[in-house]
C-alpha cells in the first residue's frame, strides 16, 4: 500500500530525503500543471508556476499542520502562485486588453505567437480536418473561459475540469462554500452566453460545439 501524503511529509521532515519530496512532486505535478495552464493560458508560465509551487511547499513544510489535508494545502499554494502570476501579468499588460473575436479564434492570433498555448499542446488526432475542427472548438471554449473574471474562471477549472468538491475549492481558494457556489453559477451563466452562438439545438453533451 502506498504511503499517504501525510506519511510522506512526516518522513521527509525526519530524513530530509529529497527522494521522498520528489514522490510528492510526481504525485501532484500533472494536476497542478493542468490547473496552471488553464488558468494562465501559457505553457512557460504554467511550468514556472508548478516549480515555484513546490519550492514554496518545501520552504513552508515546517508550517504545515496535519489538521489539514496535504493536498488541500498544496493546491492552495498552487492557486496563490497562479494568482500571483496573473497579477504580475496584469501589471505588465498595464491595462491593455486583448480583444477576443470568436470569429477569428481558429487562426493563430497575435496573443499566442511565440509561445505554446494549451491548444498547441492539445491532443492530436490522425485526421487533419477533424483536428482542425477540434482545435477550433477547444480554442473557442478556452478563449471564452479566459473572458471570465479570474475568480469565476478558477472555480470552474477546479470544479468542472479537476473535479474538486465545493468544500475542497472553498479551502483552496480561501472562501465560503456559498461563494464557491455563486461563482460557479455566474461563471457558467457567462460561459453559456459566450458559447451560445456555437451551440446547436442538436448538439449532444459529448460534442457541445458544432463546426461553423
Amino acid at each position: 500500500m502506498e504511503p499517504t501524503d501525510e506519511e510522506l511529509v512526516e518522513k521527509f521532515r525526519a530524513t530530509a530525503d529529497m527522494g521522498i519530496f520528489k514522490i510528492l512532486v510526481r504525485r501532484y505535478q500533472s494536476r497542478i500543471f493542468a490547473i496552471a495552464l488553464r488558468t494562465l493560458g501559457n505553457n512557460e508560465e504554467a511550468e514556472e508556476a508548478v516549480q515555484e509551487t513546490f519550492v514554496k511547499v518545501h520552504q513552508n513544510l515546517p508550517k504545515y499542520r496535519k489538521n489539514a489535508l496535504f493536498s488541500s494545502w498544496l493546491f492552495r499554494i498552487a492557486y496563490n502562485q497562479c494568482m500571483d502570476t496573473l497579477r504580475m501579468k496584469q501589471r505588465r499588460l498595464d491595462h491593455q486588453t486583448i480583444a477576443f473575436d470568436p470569429q477569428s479564434a481558429a487562426g493563430e492570433d497575435a496573443s499566442s505567437e511565440g509561445r505554446d498555448t494549451v491548444f498547441q499542446l492539445a491532443a492530436s488526432t490522425p485526421d487533419p480536418a477533424q483536428t482542425m475542427d477540434m482545435r477550433e472548438q477547444f480554442e473557442i471554449v478556452q478563449e471564452s473561459l479566459n473572458q471570465l473574471p479570474e475568480s469565476q474562471k478558477v472555480v470552474l477549472i477546479l470544479h468542472d475540469m479537476q473535479d474538486f468538491s465545493y468544500q475542497e475549492i472553498s479551502e483552496i481558494v480561501g472562501t465560503s462554500i456559498g461563494t464557491v457556489r455563486s461563482r460557479l453559477h455566474y461563471g457558467r451563466l457567462k460561459l453559456k452566453e459566450l458559447l451560445a452562438p456555437y451551440f446547436s439545438d442538436s448538439s449532444s453533451l459529448n460534442s457541445p460545439l458544432t463546426a461553423r
Binding site: V50, A123, V141, H185, L195
Partner: protein, 217 residues
C-alpha cells in the same frame, strides 16, 4: 410537498448548478426535482448547464513533463542548508553569524553586523571627534611654533590605526609619494603651509575607518 416548499423559477435557477453538481442537500434536491417536473424552461436551463460543463470537460488533457529533478535543483540552489537532515521539524535554522573576537585592533568604524561592533560604531565617532579636536589643537600649536621648534608629528596623537592617506593629502604632498602612508603626519603641516598660515580654517582633520586624515575644506 407543501406550497411554501415549492420553488419559483428564480429560486430554482440559483440551485440548478449545485443540483447538477450533486452538492445540494437532500431536502433541496427534492424541491428542485419537483420544480423541474413542472417547468420545461428550468429543464432547458439545466441542460444548458450540463453542456457548458461538458464543453469544459471535453478540453484535452495537457501533456506535462517531469519537474521533480528541476524542482530539486532549484531547491538545492536556493537553500542547500535546508536539505540537511534535522532532528526537529524546523528545516532551516536561522543562521547565527558571530564575528571572530581577536586581539587585533579593529578599525574605529566598521560596517560589520555583530553586536560588539555595533557598539563600536556608536561610540567611535565620539572618540574620534575628541581625537580630531586634540589633533587640530596640536597642529595649530605645531604650525605656529614651526619656525622655531622642531615639528611635532601629530601622528603621535593619532596613534590609532594606520591607514592610507587621502587623495588631498597625497596631492598636496608635492612629489612626495613615498610619504603617502601615514594618516596624519608632516603632510598635514605641509598642506597647511601651502594653503597659507592665515587660512587655518581651510584645513581640517577628519576621520574615516582608517583613522585620522587631513582634508581640504
Amino acid at each position: 410537498m407543501q406550497d411554501q416548499d415549492k420553488l419559483d423559477c428564480n429560486q430554482a435557477a440559483e440551485m440548478l448548478d449545485a443540483f447538477h453538481d450533486m452538492e445540494l442537500e437532500m431536502a433541496d434536491v427534492e424541491r428542485v426535482e419537483a420544480h423541474l417536473a413542472d417547468c420545461p424552461a428550468c429543464r432547458r436551463e439545466l441542460e444548458a448547464i450540463a453542456k457548458v460543463v461538458a464543453s469544459l470537460k471535453a478540453l484535452p488533457e495537457v501533456p506535462t513533463r517531469d519537474f521533480a529533478d528541476a524542482i530539486e535543483a532549484r531547491i538545492l540552489s536556493q537553500s542547500p542548508a535546508a536539505i540537511s537532515p534535522s532532528d526537529s521539524h524546523s528545516e532551516v535554522q536561522p543562521e547565527v553569524v558571530t564575528a571572530p573576537v581577536t586581539g587585533q585592533s579593529r578599525p574605529a568604524l566598521s560596517l560589520v553586523s555583530n553586536k560588539d561592533n555595533v557598539r563600536s560604531i556608536t561610540t567611535a565617532p565620539r572618540r574620534s571627534r575628541l581625537l580630531a579636536v586634540a589633533a587640530a589643537a596640536v597642529l595649530l600649536v605645531g604650525v605656529l611654533a614651526m619656525s622655531a621648534l622642531a615639528p611635532k608629528s601629530p601622528s603621535e596623537i593619532a596613534s590609532v590605526p594606520v591607514a592610507p592617506v587621502s587623495d588631498i593629502q597625497t596631492a598636496s604632498s608635492s612629489g612626495s609619494s613615498e610619504k603617502s602612508i601615514s594618516p596624519l603626519s608632516e603632510d598635514v603641516v605641509a598642506l597647511y603651509d601651502e594653503e597659507g598660515g592665515n587660512n587655518v580654517s581651510d584645513v581640517g582633520i577628519s576621520t574615516n575607518e582608517d583613522g585620522l586624515y587631513a582634508i581640504k575644506m
